[in-house]
Amino acid sequence: MSDITSLTLTQTLQALKDKKFSEQELNSSYLNRINTLNSKLNIFLEVKKNTSGIPAGIKDVISTKNIQTTAGSKILSNYIPPYNATAVERLLEQGVSIIGKTNCDEFAMGSSGENSAYGPTKNPWDETKVPGGTSSGSAVAVASDCCVFALGSDTGGSIRQPASLCGVVGLKPSYGRVSRYGLIAAVSSFDTVGPITKSVEDASLVLDWISGGDNYDSNAKVEKFTLQPQGLKAGVKGLKVGMPKEYFGEGLDNSVKKVIEEAIEKLKELGAEIVEVSLPHSQYALAAYYILNPSEISSNLARYDGIRFGQSRETIGAEVKRRIMLGTYSLSSGYWDDYFAKAAKVRTLVKMDFEKAFESVDAIVGPVSPTVAWNLGEKVDDPLKMYLADIYTISANLAGIPGLSVPCGFSEGLLRSVNHERSLPVGLQILGKHFDEETILKVGYAYEQITDWHNQKPDLRFKI
């Protein structure tokens, strides 16, 4: 079988069951691909040569026992965790093996993958473009068929945005759905662990595997998410889907807008009722986020003292330093009320916007990212411009609700010939009520059944 690596997780499990190939063949197929692609795309920071298990990529901010975990930072360049993250432990129990640790923005801070101390990951659709971030390596690993699926983390869009920019499925679970134990802490009240996959069904299955209560994370909800095939496949007929007018205004690239509107039209064809909703405080979400996020970061990253583990603080990269500074400032005496407390109140208003909207709709849809993947280097010197890339994803993290990114087309229709600017993937964002992953997965699944976008693969033949 020549196309083992193009199979989804669900298909891979079925093929193994039917003995179409062995776990050894599965692993060697993926390792061969990594061998040819890793040096060009800079996907993995560490590769493990397993001969069994379902090969998954694990974002390098997620602790893996006895496997180097750098968080994309020089400060952890020699750190080897003595324990597994709970999500990793649960995957191993399901017969998953770790094929590699994926590159990411340092301590999951960034929007493009360029903040990794180990160099940027490249977008497989066009190597001159960013893959998005911060789960850059995880998204590219899945998009380039270098693993069956991957784990990422999402604090402000870090699963959904790279999934969107790379044309794969990304699921940010509700805050509290998956234990954060072993996820290297950045923004504790926002951080979530979730899957990046080749299909919505795969995302649903991985969430089933990794969710559930954990004595090591008291915020984790005891009830796990359980994949109900009949629920997933129930269709969207009669479902009320909201379109927030604030997500379609100024700043949204026209070609992205067109693709998103076509995708919403498809949902309508499937029987969903499309309703306009308003999230009036969306415009303040980014400002609130960039106070709350650095504040929690400055506190969490105080642990890197170079005494118990890690190098000295000089080795911290520019963006991480910037956020530590911003957070320390906003938490410092005399400013706490003006910045941190104010932002936490605006967070309440953003959350209430969603609660109000969800009184009349079952899910909310819109773009993941205002643009498709941009040029490497384009925004690195302008932090504010980089932050604006997260404008549509951040609100979900402020509110704690789940969000799904599903491939829904390309910026310029289908791929053009090599002489033209290549067209790039666009992702549809589907947001749901807190702990209602089932509805957003149902919407994503129904959309996937009548479209072929998730089956599109970047043309990497010239590299092999």
Binding site: N78, Y79, I80, P82, Y83, Y175, G176, S189, N215, S218, N219, K221, H281, Q283, Y284, A287, A288, Y290, I291, S298, A302, D305, G306, I307, R308, F309, G310, Q311, R313, E314, I316, K321, R322, I324, M325, L326, T328, Y329, S332, Y339, A341, K342, A343, A344, K345, V346, R347, T348, L349, K351, P383, L384, Y387, L398, A399, G400, H434
Partner: protein, 96 residues
Amino acid sequence: MSLTKDQVKKVAKLANLPLTSKEEEKYAGQLSKILEYVEQLNKVDTSDVEPTFNVSGKSNVLAEDQVRTSITQEDALANAPKKSEGFFVTKGVFNE
């Protein structure tokens, strides 16, 4: 809100971040720009709004008071740059 280089120096000290003079300069400019952007929060009326610090809806989750195995002393020390006789070695606090 505009941050001066001296303020940046002070914050860096609070954050235990060694910055070069060039970095201090750069961050003064960049942080001022971000703070300026964040100032739009003042346009929002939050007078009757409670702050949100946690969205899990949980509070005071208690664990059973049980003895559990934890990582070994050897594992806990494995990543330490300097160790001695089963302890972390740190900079002296009183010997200046």
